[in-house]
Assembly symmetry: C2
Homo-oligomer: 161 residues x 2
């Protein structure tokens, strides 16, 4: 998806913004939570809770329990630092934390990458349609399955982070 890029920069950037946001809010971005955030950001593919668990166990050598990861993810989602992709039971780093936004994602079925859409027109259309039906919106979820630009090119398929 995002073509070749310096992903280390993505990660560093995400952590820096997370530090700033949490400091600002008085939220405690503990080392465990920070580490989980880093692991969520290890690519642009949504990662399952148990994949992150394996990372903690194997890459860090710290055997961890599922709850450890789920609790960290819960915190990160609450803080808007991570989104949950419902249709994949997986988590992905938020591209624009701080800015409150709906979770809108384009999920490529070929490479597995997901990018945030967060298009105001989509959000408007949803809110308009809902309000016409008297429905009070709390949290809109949009997850579009399909094929990303890179994977539409027949040759250089299956790119990852």
């Amino acid at each position: 998806m995002l073509h070749a890029h310096d992903h280390a920069h993505c990660i560093a950037d995400a952590l820096t913004r997370a530090d700033a946001l949490c400091a600002e809010r008085g939220a405690r971005l503990t080392s465990l939570r920070r580490r989980v955030l880093e692991l969520v950001w290890s690519g642009h593919q949504p990662r399952g809770a148990y994949a992150i668990l394996d990372d903690l166990t194997q890459r860090d050598g710290k055997p961890a329990a599922p709850l450890t990861v789920y609790r960290a993810l819960e915190f990160l989602v609450e803080q808007g630092l991570v989104h949950r992709i419902e249709s994949l039971n997986a988590y992905i780093g938020c591209a624009e934390p701080g800015a409150m936004h709906a979770g809108q994602f384009l999920v490529c079925e070929a490479c597995g990458n997901a990018v945030e859409l967060d298009d105001p027109r989509v959000d408007d259309a949803i809110r308009t349609a809902a309000s016409e039906r008297g429905f009070q919106v709390r949290r809109p979820t949009v997850e579009v399955r399909g094929t990303c630009p890179d994977c539409q090119k027949p040759d250089l398929q299956e790119k990852s982070p």
Copy 2:
């Protein structure tokens, strides 16, 4: 949600349309699949696969295995007779089978009911935004959490089917 209504009619109607559609397509709506469809339609709340399994076991007295239900649901979803609500891991009868449409739902967090939205403006906005990013859409999913009109009235809460 849909106020008081003759739900038996909803069910009968859904089954009739399913019969017709499957006949037309040469798809085999077996008695098991038909029964699962009926159980999915037992209300306007999305139902989990294991809830349906319990119905089969308890209401019908036929002890069934999870796979039995999952296979029937898979068929029904393929035929567009049932939708899966990703954010609930649950299934709901399709209001307009036959008409190919995106899965757009308003899910009430108070009563648990879900209604199809299927608003063309929402679909257009998604397709426009996706296509601007070169993303090829295969299946858009929209699931809006919030509060339905009935549950916004303070008194008569918690309505069901």
